[in-house]
């Protein structure tokens, strides 16, 4: 049952150290393993051999925390549509395959080590305006403001974003438009988020630019790799809200 898999993995000791690909072969890969469990097995062998294991982020391993994110054979999160790296299983590959694994590559996501990158730029975009400005204690009854189901569903479609950064990794410009617009759409379509709608869009877009993310050239690569399949229609909405904010200043 075991498969033999060869990995070409990006190894980089630190943010300013030069990186390189290194090759590892394992004959202990089982088709039922998840991709990250395969890396666990490779790492345990490296540890037993006294070598430095491959550093990568992961946590929930069920596709919701957004921690994991590897470029697998050139595709962020690998070959399965609508799935995160941790949801890819080795049965997707064949005995004898060689797989190339790289980190997210973007100016705004510096490599910390190997496959681990710093995505705190996303937190700063949220801090700039990705919320409803209300304090604990003053909320009216939950049913006091009806929200049409269609809008609640649209908000939820966008709120599903897990902040993994695959959209940035897939974009040739390393743009963060899908991430930013998903939050702008989630909050902007709800009555609770309406009062700050334009101010929010302006502040978040400004922060996004300040972080060094690129521009959007409408190719839709982000949507294609998004594990939550968030639509680029949200980018159009963000652009409208941003334009209105800019022109009404």
């Amino acid at each position: 049952m075991a498969m033999t898999i060869t990995l070409n993995v990006w190894r980089q000791a630190g943010p300013s150290a030069p990186g390189r690909f290194e090759s590892y072969t394992s004959d202990k890969v089982h088709p039922d393993m998840s991709f990250l469990e395969m890396l666990d097995v490779v790492n345990d062998d490296l540890i037993r051999a006294g070598k430095d294991p491959i550093a990568f982020d992961s946590d929930c391993r069920e596709g919701i925390c957004g921690s994991c994110g590897l470029v697998i054979d050139g595709i962020p999160h690998g070959p399965d549509p609508g799935a995160t790296t941790c949801q890819v299983h080795m049965r997707r590959f064949r005995n004898g395959d060689t797989i190339t694994i790289e980190p997210w590559r973007a100016k705004a996501f510096p490599v910390i080590k190997d496959l681990v990158v710093d995505r705190t730029a996303f937190d700063r975009i949220i801090a700039a305006g990705g919320y409803v400005s209300m304090n604990v204690g003053g909320a009216p009854d939950g049913n006091s403001v009806p929200v049409p189901k269609e809008l609640a569903d649209l908000a939820m479609d966008n709120a599903q974003c897990i902040g993994c950064g695959a959209c940035v990794a897939a974009c040739k410009n390393a743009a963060a438009h899908l991430f930013t617009s998903a939050k702008i759409t989630h909050l902007g379509v709800l009555p609770q988020g309406e009062p700050e709608r334009y101010r929010r869009a302006a502040a978040m877009v400004e922060q996004m630019d300040a972080e060094g993310f690129g521009s959007c050239s409408n190719e839709g690569e982000c949507e294609a790799v998004c594990p939550k399949q968030i639509s680029i229609a949200s980018i159009a909405r963000m652009n409208r809200d941003f334009m209105r904010a800019a022109t009404s200043k």
């Binding site: 039922d32 540890i47 929930c60 957004g66 710093d118 700039a128 305006g129 908000a155 939820m156």
Partner: protein, 637 residues
């Protein structure tokens, strides 16, 4: 030290109001003079940080993840309870309170649970106002569903991602305070010690997981919101990085650990498929509404399920519990699955799973209806197992899911160390011996948004808090101890991987402190845990260095703590000579195999005081009284 739960006087309905009125307040102009450390960024930690930041305190928020939004609250699926009675179906604060005390098998503190039920309604209001996109009906009002065996519909939800949406709501509120300058974020930091000065919690030592540097942070008070200890079992539905380290190290500094043996094992998880497996995935318990659970009647029957005729199948839940059938509560369903597998009737390659069969439901309702109800769960199952549940029965098995035990806290959520507060799953307080579905999210947010802000202020307003800097000897001593432990584990340079030890301690806990426990097994497990711990310190292999990003080193520290904690887990189970909730002692069961609670002798909270690694901890008991909900035997026949 006697345990003082500090429950306010008066009728249960007025206790929280009384406490809020008795509490000391801090003048708004003075709040910025207080530094508050919050450890953990899940529902409890993020909501507490947001709330305290809004009030004007200086909050420092620490988390092991790169972003606060990654904390494991994000993975909760089902929903959050609130006694809104929006369905006009007879729900009330009192009913939610009653259900929670009973569901906890009468091992929770009544006053805490009542407050939880009271505050549940405010949580929903708060989350809606934040923009949490709860499910709605066409009329625009909030939708509800029934959950976890409740007879009313009181569960609010956001598709199957309720935890994610609630956490993002709290995270966004908290990030607003980061922007406002009241909350300072410390990501990728692991708390390694609590610093206690003159008997008060005054700071923490944490490791910067990127640079390896040990940092000292002082404060007026410390809030631990670091979740449960389910990953001591190695395989669980918890995230890979969830751990007991912060809580355990606080325990070693004097915080009592309460009821560690109360662990929840969820009946419907995707079974283990091999040694490589790193975690288990929960399948929503709603599947039992339409799926029928069965195993072959004959042990060792390895035929394909389609080849086994109905007369040779044992629908054991329907047989043993004719009135509740497949819908018995979590603890009962889990134990029943274990017992049929113990009889050699389990299915799958490992023999450690049972069928959850939708064939009858598909025949009755048609595949499209079943797809509408459970499509996303079936897809998830297919992705992991490569089997199609529309064609062959699902295979499920119980897995560790939640821990009701945790650091002991009084009514104010303060531990036995003054100034150390414990919130959310990390404390023991509200769920007794068994947690009901959709109650974990409720408790985390209740503690963070609505309880701690009042009780922490009361502490700050009333305590004498002389200035303490990080050059104090207590900080130096704690840094030296943390450094020594890191150096020691790196110096072993043995031949076994950290994971092998984690898997070994997990197997011991699962086999002997899992779904069924007995005296002989527990005594043996304690001995085995001790020798495993000794071996770890002789033969573990931890690669790399201490002064950079080294996930293996972080992991080694957590496993080392589990090797200490597991002993108390087993000891607590050994000491509790009764069966209740998630704790089933084989010696204490009714003639027909049901849990036998012993209220006369065990109606107490077991709070353990640390006396040294490998030393017998001291047991302190907090007697539980039930003035409102009178203990009775739970029966599901």
């Amino acid at each position: 030290m006697t345990l003082d739960s500090r429950i306010p006087g008066g009728p249960i309905t007025e206790k929280w109001d009384r406490r809020k009125f008795e509490n000391k307040l801090v003048n708004p102009a003075n709040r910025r003079k207080y530094d508050i450390i919050v450890v953990g960024t899940g529902l409890a930690g993020s909501s507490a940080a947001a709330s305290l930041g809004e009030m004007g305190y200086n909050v420092k928020l620490f988390g092991i993840h790169e972003s606060p939004r990654r904390a494991h609250s994000i993975a909760a699926q089902g929903g959050i309870n609130a006694a809104k009675n929006y369905r006009n179906d007879g729900d009330s604060i009192y009913r939610l309170f009653y259900d929670t005390v009973k569901g906890g098998d009468y091992r929770a503190r009544e006053a805490n649970v009542y407050r939880l039920a009271q505050l549940s309604v405010q949580i929903i209001d708060q989350c809606v106002a934040q923009g949490v996109p709860f499910a709605r009906e066409y009329g625009g009002l909030l939708d509800n569903r029934s959950f976890g065996g409740a007879q009313v519909s009181r569960t609010f939800y956001a598709r199957g991602q309720t935890g994610q949406q609630l956490l993002l709501g709290a995270y966004q509120s908290m990030m607003r305070q980061v922007h406002a300058g009241t909350v300072q974020l410390f990501p990728r930091r692991e708390m390694l010690d609590l610093v206690v000065v003159d008997g008060q919690a005054r700071g923490i030592i944490c490791r910067n997981l990127v640079t390896g540097e040990l940092e000292s942070h002082s404060a007026s008070t410390v809030l631990l919101c670091t979740g449960g200890y389910g990953t001591v079992f190695y395989l669980s539905t918890n995230a890979i990085n969830s751990n007991v380290t912060a809580a355990w190290r606080a325990h070693k500094r004097g915080a009592y650990f309460a009821n560690p043996c109360f662990t929840q094992i969820h009946p419907t998880c995707i079974p283990v498929s091999g040694d490589h497996q790193s975690k288990l995935t929960l399948m929503s318990e709603s599947l039992r509404n339409d799926g029928r659970v069965w195993v072959p009647k004959n042990p060792g029957d390895k035929r394909h399920p389609s080849q086994i005729p109905d007369s040779e199948r044992d629908y054991y839940l329907e047989r043993r519990y004719p009135s509740f059938g497949n819908l018995v509560p979590r603890d009962v369903a889990s134990r029943a699955a274990k017992s049929v597998c113990d009889e050699g009737r389990g299915v799958g390659d490992s023999g450690l799973s049972v069928y959850l069969d939708f064939a009858d439901a598909i025949k009755r309702f048609g595949a499209p209806t079943i797809k509408g109800r459970y499509g996303n769960l079936f897809d998830m199952y297919m992705r992991i197992t490569d089997e199609d549940p529309y064609q062959v029965p699902m295979r499920i098995y119980p897995a560790v899911h939640y821990t009701m035990g945790g650091l002991w806290v009084d009514y104010n959520l303060q531990s036995t160390i003054p100034g150390l507060f414990v919130l959310g799953e990390a404390n023991f307080s509200d769920h007794g011996a068994n947690r009901l579905g959709a109650s974990a999210l409720m408790q985390g947010l209740c503690d963070g948004y609505f309880v701690a802000p009042y009780t922490v202020a009361n502490y700050l307003g009333g305590a004498s808090l002389p200035a303490v800097s990080t050059s104090h000897d207590s900080f130096k001593e704690a840094v030296a101890a943390a450094q020594a432990r890191i150096d020691k584990v790196l110096a072993v340079r043995g031949s076994k991987s950290i994971r092998e030890y984690h898997r070994a301690v997990g197997a011991l806990c699962w086999d002997h402190v899992g779904m069924a426990r007995n005296e002989q097994g527990l005594k043996g497990a304690i001995q085995s845990i001790r020798s495993l711990r000794d071996e770890f310190w002789q033969n573990v292999s931890v690669p790399g260095e201490k002064n950079n990003l080294n996930p293996a080193l972080d992991y080694a520290g957590r496993v080392a703590d589990y090797l200490e904690f597991a002993e108390v887990l087993a000891l607590d189970a050994l000491e509790r000579h009764e069966s209740c909730g998630g704790h089933f002692r084989e010696e204490y069961q009714t003639p027909d195999g049901e849990a036998l609670r012993r209220d006369d002798e065990y109606s107490y909270v077991a709070a353990w005081e640390f006396t040294g690694v490998g030393q017998m901890p001291t047991l302190h008991k907090e007697a539980l009284t039930f003035d409102e909900v009178h203990p009775s035997q739970r029966s599901y026949k």
